[in-house]
Amino acid sequence: MRKGCIPMAKVFVVTSGKGGVGKTTITANVGCALAKMGERVCLIDADIGLKNLDVVLGVENRIVYTIIDVVNGNVPPKEALVRHKILKNLFLLPASQIATKEMVSPEDMKEIVKELSKDFDYILIDSPAGIERGFRNAASPAEAALIVTTPEIPAISDADRVIGLLENFGYSDEDIKVIINRIKPKMVKRGDMLSKEDIESILALEIIGAIPDSEEVIAAANKGVPIVLDGTYITKNYENIARRIRGEEIPLEVDLKSTPNKGFLSFFKNLFGRKG
């Protein structure tokens, strides 16, 4: 565990450097997967000013208080939490859309996490893109980091930069894990995309999950139902990440093999409007 961080709940920051790589989707789905396994999970949206985690989780209409109310001392952190509709042990501390990242400090975040960590097994902090204040706010109370990257040069080089910054914050190599999002096995096979091994050798960190590119993720985000609760072929990948976080040993090859079901039976299922 890194120095100066808060014990009790295991606290992760989900970050990337580059925007649009899928941090929020991964935070929501890994959180749901952990909650499905019976863990008490709290998600914190640290993307103040933009906020999307509530929308991906489908709880945007249930928000009464936000993290800014907690920072201003209007309510204690527990009172600002929003409970998920289906998973009763999954909570969200929402961000505010009308505030700015500068209204929260790393010390505020540490205080909030310290308070919440008594009641949860896992806390996942969804970091905003970039390496400025918002990223520092999100990274300061965490003990470990999940770096999300897509298999393309700008995303990986930004991930590398973020890893360097996290190391300066006191994170060790064991505290930082990588998730490869939107991997396309066919493109890797053709040589048009970097493979899991390539990314692993460049970032020199353990890869804790690989999620294939899927249209279903977009559809799920639009429905406000995390894909983990929708039961598609990709669900397993998020569940495997959750299992690895809990300490189970599952080979990554399992994740890379998952592909949409395009078999004979699936064709007829799709024809009659059922999920493949």
Binding site: M193, D198, I202
Partner: protein, 95 residues
């Protein structure tokens, strides 16, 4: 456009070579980036500095040699006096 059929005759690059090329590009991008270093702060008393600035310079070089594991010839330390302050500029060539 006229010679579109020549595309069929063009030899395809093997996937491993294509990936190697991407890997090399990424390696260059990552390596050319300025690495973030941990911040180190030193407090040097004014009297000590005025007495022997060369000694300060030597100490900085010694520290940089140990920290970055480079030859001392690759370290350049400049001391500039401006108004009431002394600015120490240290350049370490890591290549």
């Amino acid at each position: 456009m006229k010679f579109w059929f020549l595309k069929f005759l063009k030899k395809k690059e093997p996937p491993e070579e294509k990936r190697n090329e991407i890997r090399k590009r990424l390696q260059t991008v990552v390596e050319s980036r300025r690495k973030e270093m941990e911040e180190y702060q030193f407090a040097i008393p004014v009297e000590k500095f005025n007495k022997d600035p060369d000694e300060i310079r030597k100490n900085i070089i010694r520290w940089a040699v140990e920290t970055f594991n480079v030859d001392k010839r690759k370290i350049k330390v400049e001391l500039q006096k401006k108004e009431n302050q002394v600015i120490i500029i240290t350049n370490v060539s890591l290549r």
